[in-house]
């Protein structure tokens, strides 16, 4: 049973505030993903959790014990890196054994545990090879093996799949999820890939400029993003954000007058609509400027009046950049955000 707790962690690198009062708890067996654009501080957060970086302020607790001053080796943590960070001069077997050797296990115990985790990840035939002789997927598997071989108190993943091709990525994603579920070790997983974050995490944290914008279940952050930032980070293509004028209590979009939540203030508001929820054929005329073919569907990019919009749909042939097409909001979920702060306007 391990509970990892980050309590108001702040950190500054030079003049930039990398982390701002980040608080987060990872419960036993829980898989928490952190997603955010590059440079948002998520990697720093992970390194703080690992003990590689000491935060300027805030506390890190393991099962309620403050471990700020503990060196990584005392924390009993395992970490998987984007570039695998395998030791190039050691064979796969020695790579797996490396943390165990540091822990001063007996030679038999080491051999036994290396064998077990190699089996678990199907690394048996690769044991004698050097990392340079492995493919990317194999390398990351070895890195996974090196992480689980010690049976650590918690796992940290730093964009482990970013260097892999999409097919492998999907494959390993499943594997990691299964592995974690099986081992039940609390996991903090950092990624810039929203799909990964949503599919893996039992909870998803969206990070922006060193602060957690939203923490919640995948459904929650998808359906009720608390800010325009969260909204744009999740989903591909990103959510359309339309900055609209409010006239007489209604938001003006072309000829449409849309009802806004009663709590809305000011004369501007932002409407968020996911591109694939928009429907084709309707009252809004979209000037198509660009069509991105995705095989089974197309992404149209263009403008409605002053507003930029993207629409996803199966259109078939015939549409060319420069032509226009009618769209409608239809049943698309409407997300309302404050124009100034970008915060979600909750319906009462």
């Amino acid at each position: 049973m391990t509970r990892l707790e980050l309590d108001r962690i702040s950190h500054r690198l030079g003049t930039t505030q990398v982390l701002r009062e980040v608080s987060l708890a990872v419960e036993h067996g829980e898989f928490v993903t952190v997603v955010g654009p590059s440079g948002c501080g998520k990697s720093t957060l992970l390194r703080v959790a690992a003990g590689l970086i000491e935060p300027d302020a805030g506390a890190l607790r393991l099962d309620g014990v403050e471990v700020n001053g503990w060196e990584p080796r005392r924390r009993d943590v395992a970490m998987v890196f984007q570039n695998y960070a395998l030791y190039p001069h050691l064979s796969v077997e020695r790579n797996l054994a490396f943390p165990l050797e540091n822990a001063r296990l007996s030679r038999e115990a080491i051999r036994e545990r290396v064998r077990a985790s190699a089996e678990l990840l199907g690394l048996g035939p690769l044991l004698a090879r050097k990392p340079a002789e492995l493919s990317g997927g194999q390398m990351q598997r070895v890195a996974l093996g090196r992480a689980i071989v010690r049976d650590p108190r918690y796992f940290l993943f730093d964009e482990p799949l970013s260097n892999l091709d999409p097919r492998l990525r999907a494959e390993l994603r499943v594997e990691i999820a299964a592995l974690q579920r099986r081992l039940g070790i609390p996991t903090l997983y950092v990624t810039h890939d929203q799909a990964e974050a949503l599919s893996l995490g039992s909870r998803v944290c969206v990070m922006w400029e060193g602060a957690l914008e939203q923490v919640g279940s995948p459904r929650e952050v998808w359906e009720r993003p608390t800010s325009t930032r969260v909204a744009t980070l999740l989903g591909s293509p990103a959510m359309n954000l339309l900055r609209l004028r409010i006239e007489a209590g209604r938001a003006v979009l072309g000829d449409l007058r849309l009802e806004v939540p009663p709590t809305a203030r000011g004369n501007q508001i932002v409407l968020g609509i996911r591109p694939h929820e928009l429907e084709l054929g309707g009252e809004l005329q979209l000037q198509v400027e660009w069509i991105e073919e995705q095989g089974d569907r197309q992404v149209l990019e263009g403008s409605v009046g002053q507003q930029r919009l993207r629409v996803v749909g199966a259109l078939g042939n015939g549409l060319k950049p420069g032509s226009s097409i009618g769209i409608r909001l239809g049943s698309a979920r409407r997300h309302w955000f404050e124009a100034g702060s970008g915060k979600r306007i909750h319906a009462p």
């Binding site: 003990g51 000491e54 700020n68 001053g69 503990w70 060196e71 001063r104």
Partner: protein
């Protein structure tokens, strides 16, 4: 738990890869071997510093030492080798500075006055007076007199010595129908003979047979002045007399031989021991003025008959003498015993056997007149000449700072002898003015307060304070436990470096900074250092030699650094492939960089010899007339640049390594983009190499500013001051002119200049240096 973990790591480290044994060895090497030298001066030990002037002299000295030991039971005689003719003379200065026991040493007579002035020698007069067997009359009077101080006390005993004479090629003179030189021959006889001999034997339009191969260092030039009735300095040793007409005439005569009559060659311009001169090659009728040592070298001449004659006369006969003196340094543990050993070294047996070996004129009059020296069956026939000239033989003035004056004069001297259009009287006047200025300043430097306490102690204290301040500053910051742990492990990792940095770099650096504020001769105890404030730094601004040193150093660096870089890069581009041929060529390129500088210097001196060297022979093949290289003030720095180009092996290796790790994809991308070979090099390869180029430029600049070994071996700073690079000047000032304070100031000036140069280099290239993400130089 953690402690044990760490300890085990250290243990494993110590015993892995045999490093344990090495560590043990290191301890042994430091502790075990140290025992003997660490011991305080011991009366039961006699330390003798000696040089092997000729090969066989060392076993002989050992024999004497063993016999001496046998005569005084319980005594141990340690013979220390000075370590060769190059630099060997400076060893005693270190030992004196370090207050190490030395009972008998050998110094050059030109440094004798300085040693006496600094109290570096034991007054031997009491021992001489008390020694019933010592008869001053046995020793050549002028030689013994040279070993006395102003009061007439004896401070040393002369070793073998040699007056300067003239060597001549008997066959060549007879062929030319010139009478052989007689005892009273004159300058005019010399000129007439030289004119007859000088000619172009192979008809290529260049003179290849000379009248005289003229030696040109000061001691060899001085006899001409004396012969003409001139003097170097006034009788009270306070003023230079080089500007007077007698001296000027002498210089003009030599200049005329070289540049108007064209009967004299330059080949003997430096103490050119390794190269065979024109005379040895049978291409010069006369060779000199020069000493006895050449008979040793000329014994192997078989192609012609040769002999020696006195120097030609003008108004009077005169010659100079080279001599070394056995002395008892102030660090002797038992001067009485040292005196007895000295007596052995200047005793009949040792002197007789040295004379047989051909080690100069014996100090004892009787032995000099015996066949041990005269050797009737071995050339030269007229060994008697070395004795006959002694009544006119003189030593250089007994000035404590003679070496500095010599080097001040040497630069003008070379200007006179090597440069065709020199205004000789003006140069002589400059020589005199420089000397006068120096002597005047020496009179002022006299009574200054002593440094408040030992410089070394102060420097150590200062570095300790600096360290403490550094640690305190770091302590003052608030840091978390993890950061503190990091700092601790960084401290452990950096400990070996930090210890060495403080002890061997910062300590000495601070020490030399303190020294630069003092007036201290390395011959005197450190406690005798006088505090002179910023005087030494003020001197820099009025020191012409320093200015020309700076100029030479800057020009050398500005030329050699970029050219070496370009050459190293070019060679690396050509030979970075993996084939056997490329690897072999690379190895060859490396060879000049690893040959000892002494050898390399000799080799280059020979290659760059204007008359016979390979460089000009090669140029002649293309119909070009080569420059005079090391003999021409304008060409000497370019010559050293050329030498430096020859040693680009290390830089090339770094480039080769970098080239092999250049990102091929970028090169290929450029190729696909249609970039030609040249554009690929310029826009893809070079930018990738830029950090390595900068690295090589930095190390090259550092090396160029500190160039020492080559000029030291090849030109000793000449001609003039043209190649007196800063590091060489620092060394000369400190160890030859005994002016350690000023030398430290010059060293600091060098340091500042280098830092400036590096700053300019780094800042000006910032725009062109591209680091790969996460990558670095090399």
């Amino acid at each position: 738990m953690r402690g044990r973990y760490h300890a085990r790591n250290v243990e494993r480290l110590a015993f892995s890869a045999g490093r344990g044994k090495l560590a043990t060895l290191a301890v042994l090497a430091c502790a075990g071997f140290g025992e003997r030298a660490q011991a305080a001066p011991r009366g039961d030990r006699l330390v003798v510093m000696a040089e092997q002037q000729v090969l066989e002299s060392w076993p002989l000295l050992e024999e004497i030492a063993r016999r001496f030991e046998a005569a005084e039971p319980g005594l141990e005689v340690d013979l220390y080798d000075e370590g060769g003719a190059v630099g060997g003379r400076d060893k005693i200065k270190f030992l004196l500075a370090g207050e190490l026991q030395v009972d008998v040493a050998r110094i050059d007579i030109s440094e004798f006055a300085a040693f006496v002035r600094e109290g570096a020698l034991v007054d031997l007069q009491p021992f001489a007076d008390a020694d019933p067997d010592f008869h001053a009359g046995d020793i050549w009077p002028f030689a013994l007199d040279a070993c006395r101080d102003a009061r007439g006390h004896v401070y040393g005993l002369p070793s073998t010595f040699t007056p300067y004479v003239m060597y001549y090629n008997r066959d060549l003179l007879e062929q030319a129908g010139v009478p052989l030189p007689r005892a009273d021959w004159t300058w005019d006889d010399l000129l007439a003979a030289a004119r007859k001999v000088t000619r172009d034997t192979d008809g290529d339009g260049r003179i290849d047979q000379y009248g005289i191969s003229l030696t040109q260092w000061l001691q060899a030039v001085v006899p001409w002045i004396w012969q003409n009735g001139g003097e170097l300095v006034s009788a009270d040793l306070q003023h230079s007399r080089l500007g007077e007409p007698e001296a000027v005439e002498a210089f003009e005569f030599l200049h005329r031989l070289l540049h108007e009559e064209h009967v004299a060659s330059f080949d003997a311009s430096f103490a050119n021991q390794i190269s065979q001169g024109l005379f040895q090659a049978g291409k010069a009728a006369f060779y000199g003025p020069v000493g006895y040592w050449e008979t040793y070298r000329f014994r192997s001449i078989s192609g012609f008959r040769w002999d020696v004659a006195p120097l030609p006369q003008r108004k009077t006969a005169a010659t100079s003498v080279a001599m070394t003196v056995y002395v008892v340094p102030r660090t002797s543990a038992n001067p009485a015993r040292a005196w007895r050993f000295l007596r052995e070294m200047v005793g009949p047996e040792y002197q007789t056997r040295l004379a047989r070996m051909g080690n100069g004129v014996p100090a004892l009059v009787d032995i000099a007149h015996s066949n041990a020296f005269l050797k009737p069956d071995v050339p030269p026939q007229s060994e008697q000449v070395f004795l006959d000239v002694l009544p006119h033989a003189r030593l250089l003035p007994p000035l404590a700072n003679w070496k500095k004056i010599e080097s001040l004069c040497q630069s003008e001297l070379e200007g006179i002898l090597l440069v065709r259009d020199t205004d000789v009287p003006a140069a002589c006047a400059r020589m005199a003015a420089k000397t006068d200025e120096f002597l005047a300043r020496e009179r002022v430097r006299g009574e200054r307060p002593r440094a408040p306490s030992g410089v070394l102690e102060t420097s150590l204290a200062a570095s300790a304070i600096a360290l403490a301040a550094f640690l305190l500053l770091r302590r003052g910051r608030r840091e978390g436990p993890l950061a503190r742990a990091e700092a601790r492990s960084a401290g452990r990792l950096l400990a070996p470096w930090a210890a060495g940095f403080l002890l061997f770099l910062l300590g000495p650096a601070i020490g030399s900074l303190l020294l630069s504020l003092c007036d201290w001769s390395p011959l005197a105890p450190l406690a005798d250092a006088r505090f002179v404030g910023a005087d030494n730094f003020a001197r820099l601004f009025h020191d012409g030699t320093f200015a020309s040193s700076v100029r030479a150093t800057l020009v050398y660096a500005a030329a050699s650094v970029p050219l070496s870089l370009a050459l190293a890069l070019g060679l690396a581009l050509l030979f970075s492939s993996e084939g056997r041929l490329a690897a072999s060529v690379r190895t060859l390129i490396f060879v000049p960089a690893i040959v000892s500088p002494v050898i390399l210097g000799a080799l280059w001196r020979w290659i760059l010899d204007p008359e016979r060297g390979a460089a000009n022979a090669l140029l002649a093949k293309f119909g070009l007339e080569g420059p005079r290289w090391l003999l021409d003030p304008h060409w000497v720095v370019p010559s050293f640049v050329l030498v430096s180009l020859w040693s680009v092996g290390a830089q090339m290796l770094v480039f080769v390594a970098a080239l092999q790790s250049v990102d091929r994809t970028l090169v290929e991308a450029a190729r696909i983009d249609g970039a030609g070979r040249w554009r690929r090099l310029l826009h893809v390869t070079l930018p990738q190499l830029s950090p390595v180029i900068l690295f090589n430029a930095i190390t090259g600049t550092v090396a160029a500013f500190q160039v020492f070994a080559q000029p030291y071996v090849m030109t000793q700073g000449g001609p003039g001051d043209a190649s007196r690079f800063l590091a060489l000047y620092v060394y000369e000032t400190g160890f030859l002119h005994f002016d350690m304070g000023y030398a430290s100031a010059v060293a600091w000036a060098l340091c500042v200049l280098l830092c400036l140069a590096l700053g300019v280099l780094v800042l000006s290239t910032r725009r062109f240096v591209h680091y790969r993400a996460g990558g670095g130089a090399a």
